[in-house]
């Protein structure tokens, strides 16, 4: 019954809208459409197109069908890189988002005084470029004069070799966590601020503890933000490039040119000069990332219900 009553005015509104169109909206959107076309859509299709060709020693490029794509799907270097960023995602993202959520809930608990100070201080690392953060932490990790070396020396123990193959992913995960924890915290905090107070009041009257309220009322209320940050972190993890590319200078034995899929495509295009194959690999990496994004979104939608 409610559906029937709701649809009638909706229909009326729709026909009314059709009568009155603001054509002026198109010029307002035109600059965006142009930069979006040239910045995103066209390069994407150009990558697809490039993947169908191969550069010959003599006679320019020739059409090779799906050869590049098939080669990429069987490329162990690409899949090793993929496995690595997948592992990295599991190391880095859950911990960072949990810490950010915890910090936001603590700031929102009204038990902490002068919250503006920790809030801005925790956010500051976001303003540090990833490359500079990687350089800085690279120095800090160092055994000679880095903080790690000094602390270990003071304690009389051997400093962990952060540049070894076992700890490298953790070293990178720590850099990314340091950069983005405060940013995610701020997103959670701003969505916690807009939850109506009444929701807690009734829970408090029922005798729920603050921890219980945080878990059963606050977190479900901000699940939209949690999903958004999760998706950003997923995309960021699979695009990993800056940190390993900088640390490569400091740890050339651990980080090779195909450490992550992105470093692999970069080196294919600019060191091996094989732009066609690089385009095919980057497109496949992009498609797998988008599939993963879609899966996470689908799981998130189920959570919504």
């Amino acid at each position: 019954m409610t559906a029937a009553t709701a649809s009638a005015p909706a229909k009326a509104r729709k026909t009314k809208v059709k009568e009155r169109q603001d054509w002026i909206g198109i010029p307002f959107c035109l600059p965006y459409v142009i930069v979006f076309l040239f910045g995103t859509i066209i390069p994407l299709f150009y990558a697809l197109y490039l993947g169908f060709f191969k550069q010959q020693m003599i006679g320019g490029s020739s059409f090779v069908g799906f050869a590049n794509y098939l080669k990429a799907l069987k490329d162990t270097l690409m899949w090793t890189g993929f496995g690595r960023v997948f592992l990295y995602f599991w190391i880095q993202t859950p911990l960072m988002l949990a810490l950010a959520l915890m910090a936001a809930l603590m700031l929102d608990s009204q038990r902490i005084r002068h919250i503006a100070i920790p809030r801005i201080l925790m956010f500051l690392p976001y303003a540090v470029p990833g490359v500079i953060a990687a350089m800085m932490w690279g120095y800090i990790y160092g055994n000679d004069y880095g903080l790690f070396g000094q602390v270990a020396h003071a304690l009389g123990v051997q400093a962990p070799n952060m540049f070894g193959s076992q700890l490298m992913l953790f070293a990178i995960a720590n850099i990314a966590t340091w950069c983005f924890m405060g940013y995610n915290m701020l997103i959670y905090y701003s969505s916690l601020r807009v939850i109506p107070e009444e929701l807690y009041e009734s829970a408090r009257i029922d005798g729920a503890s603050e921890l219980r309220i945080a878990w059963s009322v606050k977190i479900p209320q901000i699940r939209g933000s949690v999903m958004m940050t999760l998706l950003f972190s997923l995309i960021g993890s699979f695009q990993l490039f800056n940190e390993p590319n900088v640390l490569k200078t400091l740890a050339p034995e651990t980080i090779n040119s195909s450490y992550t899929p992105n470093m692999y495509t970069y080196n294919l295009a600019f060191t091996s000069q094989d732009a066609n194959y690089a385009a095919a690999v980057s497109l496949i990496v992009g498609i797998i990332t988008m599939v993963l994004v879609a899966i996470v979104k689908a799981i998130g939608n189920r959570w919504d219900k």
Binding site: R20, I24, I120, L124, M181
Partner: protein, 325 residues
């Protein structure tokens, strides 16, 4: 005439005093309330409260220590970096010497990089934010064909990894002869789908359509309405998107790394990494670690200042963005 200028000053002084008095009273009241609240806390709650403060302090320290380390490092000579505690000064404080050396090292290439970074960030950041504001305003307040299309395509392509398109972008730009020019860094970054998404949400929540309708009835053109009514209402959202766009461009490494070939065109992120890579060059005796670190510090200060001073705007912008998800 002098009397005239003195008296308002006096009045304003008195006003200030009164204001201060009021403020003090308010603060005392708040303190008293808080003290009362604290008394009401049970023992267990008090322990919890302590625990919260300690955890928070640890997190803040984690975020701050590397920055403090960077500040201390910028006051040291290259050998001082090795022989002094990381979180304190060395015997010799050479902060100003380091700044001077950073700016003059390698024929003064650092100030070039700083200017390039500012140019790219302002051009691409301001440009992309303005473009997203126009489109976001139109999508949120007007009905025109293609409106929903724009929204859906933007949402769908927001999750495309930016680096997927960078290699084809490079090939496109090299055919157009734009590679190795500032345009190759600025133009691709004018497209900001996430900025558009935020602007749409912000415009939907902060612009009352009735206000626009009233202005239209008064005969104002859409262009005037946008600048006179829409834009002022959108300003916190504009500052938020602008700041995050500035950070995005300022911090970008991959795109300029690929697009630029001349050292003189580099932004700071790529340039500083060139200095770091000098370590693998055997002809270089000693890596200028102190200059790399001082250069890094100078590179992050402008953004930190922006965030601190514009706090009021971007925090309200973020809050409005989170109303609707």
């Amino acid at each position: 005439m002098s009397a005239a200028t003195v008296s308002p000053r006096k009045a304003s002084r008195e006003e200030k005093l009164a204001k201060q008095d009021w403020k003090n009273r308010q603060r005392n009241m708040r303190r008293a309330e808080k003290a009362a609240q604290r008394l009401k806390l049970t023992g267990r709650q008090r322990v919890m409260s302590w625990l919260l403060h300690i955890i928070m302090a640890v997190m803040v320290i984690y975020c701050l220590v590397p920055l403090l380390w960077l500040v201390f490092s910028s006051t040291k000579t290259n050998s001082g970096l090795y022989n002094s505690p990381g979180l304190w000064f060395a015997d010799q404080n050479v902060f100003f010497q380091n700044i001077h050396d950073t700016f003059t090292f390698k024929d003064g290439v650092y100030p070039r990089w700083l200017l390039n970074t500012i140019l790219y960030a302002v051009a691409a950041g301001l440009g992309s934010t303005l473009i997203a504001t126009f489109a976001g305003y139109a999508v949120a307040t007007m009905r025109f064909p293609g409106r929903n299309w724009l929204l859906w395509i933007t949402l769908a392509f927001m999750s495309i990894p930016g680096t997927v398109i960078t290699v084809p972008l490079f090939l496109m730009y090299s055919q157009a002869g734009l590679v190795s020019t500032p345009w190759a860094v600025i133009l691709p970054q004018l497209s900001n789908p996430f900025g558009l998404y935020l602007m749409i949400i912000y415009a939907q929540t902060s612009i009352p359509i009735s206000l626009l309708e009233a202005a239209k009835l008064d005969g104002a053109s859409q262009w005037t309405i946008f600048w006179k009514i829409g834009f002022p209402l959108l300003s916190p959202g504009f500052v938020t998107v602008l700041l995050f766009a500035l950070v995005g461009v300022w911090n970008n490494y991959f795109l300029p790394l690929i697009m630029l070939q001349d050292t003189k065109d580099y932004p700071l992120t790529v340039g500083l990494n060139v200095w770091l890579k000098m370590g693998s060059d055997t002809s270089v005796k000693e890596l200028p670690n102190n200059l790399i670190l001082t250069g890094s510090l100078i590179a992050i200060v402008p953004l930190i200042i922006c965030f601190l001073f514009l706090q009021k705007y971007w925090q309200s912008g973020l809050a409005a963005g989170s109303v609707k998800q």
